[in-house]
Amino acid sequence: MEGDYSIVKNECGVSEAIGFLLIFSLVVVGIGLVSLYGYPVLMQQQASADQRIMEKNMIVLQNDIKSLSYKNVPYKETSLKVEGGPLTVYNTMMTPTPSFRITDSSGIDITFHPGQIQYESAASQQVITIENGAVMSRRNLETGSFMLAEPRWFIDTDPVYGKITAVIYLIGMNSTELLSRRGVGTVKMQMAETNFTEISFDNNQVIVQYIPDPNNNFSVAWRNYFVNTLKWTETAPGSYQLPTTDKLVIKRYDIMVKSL
């Protein structure tokens, strides 16, 4: 019996209640810290995740638009989950609306309103837009903007005959009324109208002008695309001159958004 009361086996002061209290208070302190500091971070994460998901969704929609316009697919639909802000179709009739104007010295003057599919994030103040086949993004109330996915304009140099052809696609987003969606929905798009113009010329200077909507200005994104990607020259702010080409092809598509 004497051995039970030796120093080694002395269990005085070990209380299950105090142990429980210690662990329980650690848990409570942990929960408190998470809700104090962790929750705002989690909300921020959620907003940026929503935004990233929408960036992906917009590229999926751009792929649908590509299929409709370049691959002669008559109809496409995609299911999306829109979180953190509304997805809206601004059709070509909306005012003010951005526009592209193509002019040359021989009297060609084409003004085109592309319309937009636009997502506006409420939490992160980010705007993601599909305009004329390009996916672009900008922050609210700031002048900068950038292109997430480019449209397919190109200048072809034919090594067989040495001819240079510029191909410009004008893709308009149209709808019968103003459409908007939050939550899960299906974007149904249909090819409405195509129009194909081929202009041959000798040394005519073609100017493409981007006239932005002042409240939704993507001129920086378009400028970077024209000047850096296509290597056109900027003659005046918002005006870009094509390099000398032998032929200009303008393909115009009108896509009808049936529902969101």
Partner: protein, 119 residues
């Protein structure tokens, strides 16, 4: 005194390991970006059949009035497939081991294809 049976400590450890691995898996899944999709699309978009049919038609029509065929093909290719197409067939000079030379050019803005073939 009844001894505490702690033979099942590994269950708790397994729980820890599983939850940590799930955590890292979630981070990896979260990192997946748009790259995968655009790359896959790039592979699917390669216009193999378009290039093949242009080639086939050029070779099949090689004895016809090539200027008219070229005009028709170029405008059909642009209208239907959004591609700039041009080609030329030239008679090879005497003494060479082949008769004709084909030059074919195809460009749809994403894929450009040039070929010079002789037969």
């Amino acid at each position: 005194m009844a001894r505490l049976n702690d033979d099942a400590q590994w269950i708790v450890l397994m729980g820890f390991i599983v939850s940590f691995s799930l955590f890292f898996l979630a981070i990896v899944v979260n990192q997946s970006t748009v790259v995968g999709q655009t790359t896959a699309e790039g592979v699917l978009e390669f216009p193999k059949n378009d290039i093949r049919s242009v080639r086939e038609e050029v070779i099949a029509c090689s004895d016809a009035d090539m200027d008219k065929v070229l005009k028709d093909m170029a405008s059909i290719a642009m209208d239907r497939k959004n591609a700039v197409v041009s080609f030329r067939i030239t008679q090879a000079p005497q003494g060479l081991p082949f008769n004709k030379t084909f030059e074919i050019h195809y460009n749809n803005g994403v894929t450009a294809y040039n070929e010079t073939a002789t037969y």
